[in-house]
């Protein structure tokens, strides 16, 4: 039993380490008072993300009249929320996305958009796994390890 828990805990730690510092901060905010805080925030983030991606892809759809302003504001918002949530990779893509937007490079924008899409889906899966792990640890009777990433 303990080994199982230990194993799970190790896995958990590894996962967390791979995520951003901000995310652990976020997790710190979660306490007895707000048990589902992280889950809530993260699902809000994913919702926003998919909405923004849709809007942006629609804007970028037709090559003749791309509304770069709209795309830019979408990227900006995505950048803000991803950095708040701790989705580091998404945020990094957003930075290059913004650059493409500034020079009105449609191809570049499309590529970045695809990347954002990919990253956020990856993150989603990862977080899903993380939550599952958490559940399993709890069910196995163990404690969620607090990982401090410097």
């Amino acid at each position: 039993m303990n080994t199982v828990v230990a194993q799970l805990q190790r896995q958990f730690q590894d996962y967390l380490v791979s995520l951003y510092q901000q995310f652990t901060e976020l997790r710190k905010l979660q306490d007895e008072g707000t048990p589902d805080f992280v889950a809530e925030v993260v699902s809000l983030f994913f919702d926003d993300c998919s909405k923004l991606i849709n809007t942006m892809s629609r804007s970028l759809e037709r090559p003749e009249n791309v509304d770069f302003k709209q795309v830019d504001s979408g990227v900006h918002q995505l950048k803000g929320s991803s950095s708040s949530v701790g989705a580091r990779r998404v945020k990094n893509v957003c930075i290059s996305f913004k650059e493409c937007c500034d020079v009105q490079n449609r191809e570049g924008c499309l590529r970045c958009l695809q990347q954002v899409d990919y990253e956020y889906k990856m993150l989603k899966t990862k977080l899903q796994d993380l939550f599952n792990l958490e559940q399993r640890i709890l069910q196995a009777g163990g404690m969620i390890p607090q990982v401090n990433i410097s």
């Binding site: 809530e40 925030v41 926003d48 803000g80 708040s84 949530v85």
Partner: protein, 589 residues
Amino acid sequence: MTVEQEFEAVDQFPVGMRVLAVDDDQTCLRILETLLHRCQYHVTTTDSAQTALELLRENKNKFDLVISDVDMPDMDGFKLLELVGLEMDLPVIMLSAHSDPKYVMKGVKHGACDYLLKPVRIEELKNIWQHVVRKSKFKKMKSIVTNVESTDNTDQNGVKANRKRKDQFEEVEEDDEERGNENDDPTAQKKPRVLWTRELHNKFLAAVDHLGVEKAQPKKILELMNVDKLTRENVASHLQKFRSALKKITNEANQQANMAAIDSHFMQMSSLKGLGGFHHQQRQIPLGSGQFHGGAAATMRHFPLGRLNSFGGVFPHVSSSLPRNHSDGGYILQGMPIPPLDDLHINNNNNNKAFPSFSSQQTSLMVAPNNQLVLQQPSYASLNPGGFSPHLEINKRLEDWSNTLLSTNIPQSDVHSKPDALEWNHFCNSDAAQAGFSGANNLGPMTDAQLLRSSSPSEGLFVGQQKLENGSMPSDAGSLDDIVNSMMPKEQSQADFFEGDWGLDGIIAHSELAYENLFLCFLCNLVNMRKSVLFRHNQLLLPLVLSFFFLLSCKKKPVSPLCNLCFKHDGILFVLPMNLLAVKEWSNL
């Protein structure tokens, strides 16, 4: 709150500080809320700047601090910042993912107390209470110091006052006032120019708050402010500025909100923009949607109003005889005589109306939207008020034809017309006009009588609208002979005409673009042209010259057009009735 109460609150500070958080991003808002809770603040959140303003206006004392995102759809964060500063004078902290110093500067200029970058860290939030304290300190102090002094002294005193204030936070109000008064006296002799310092403005705001922005009156404000050496006039002018600034900001904010709100609506509308009046760009409007106005509008500009007026004036009675499908008229007539011109004239100024769909009879030749066919009845064509019945039939014909045409897909050109004023002088005389065209039956010169008898939209068409510079003849006169020779006058009976033939004898179809030539051929066939000859000629000047001379010739004798020259330029199909005789004459020159 009295001073004592405020001091008490300060002791507990920053616990329980009431913060209003505004951010359209749900994720960030949620995180911010939790972070603020962690700092033991009392938090209210909203995702709309408008709601935030309402909450603030509802009760100015409900909040101590506002944190606002910079990019929000319904209102710019900086606008909100300004408004809050003006109306409620609360400390505002800006929040943004933009780390660009430009934005930070903008924030500072608009009066933000601080500028935080996303992602927000809890450490930063733990310190925001300092802004509230700082502001309330200034509010508490009554500084009249700079009230009536010159700028120099003001600065001096201001500096002094500030220093003192910083040192003595617990200072009682009376002390400040005394100090202020002391400083006032020696400078009383100086020119009384009021400098509205922050402190003075705060007092002003407090008074206005108390009275209500709308109801505030300078006299009462003055009383409430209780400031020495401040006159009612000073207060009055300050109040005026305050109100106009408030109005300006609110209007801009509303505008922005409105624009954001109906942004999507605009997107849909943009495709219909062609419906607007004149606009000098040809729009690619789908044929089937009946939105021809784009083309019409563009061509409309070619018509000098003066000319149209005369047309309108000449044939007023005609107006009623023809069915008109568009109430806003302004349509370019197609083979229809005057009434459309009337409409044109009357409605020339109202081109903003949407043009109705084109099932109307009048659209006949207004075919390809982009091709912008314009067939217009020259005024002289139908002086005869008597023969109007044919028109009705023609209408029908035209309608049929237009419907057929409407269903064709016409390739689009994106040429831009150059609007040159038309030289209408040529056919200005009604005499000349009469000389003009005869009715359908043309076979050679017709007598005046014949002319008068028939009034048909015969070859109705005119419209060349380009100014001939000096009317110089093109050097390739040779081709004119070719043209002339190729024109073959055809006999056409009246019957033919009523069956739908427009009385166009023959057409020389010209276009700069190959496919359009084909179209022209098609067009000719549709109207049962007996003969159409296609030629490609890249110089527009030739047809124009031809028309020019033709027109000139009209003045001399009544002649019937024996052929019509069609050419297309800049997407507009011009069909010019050609007077063979005139042409022949000219060629003899």
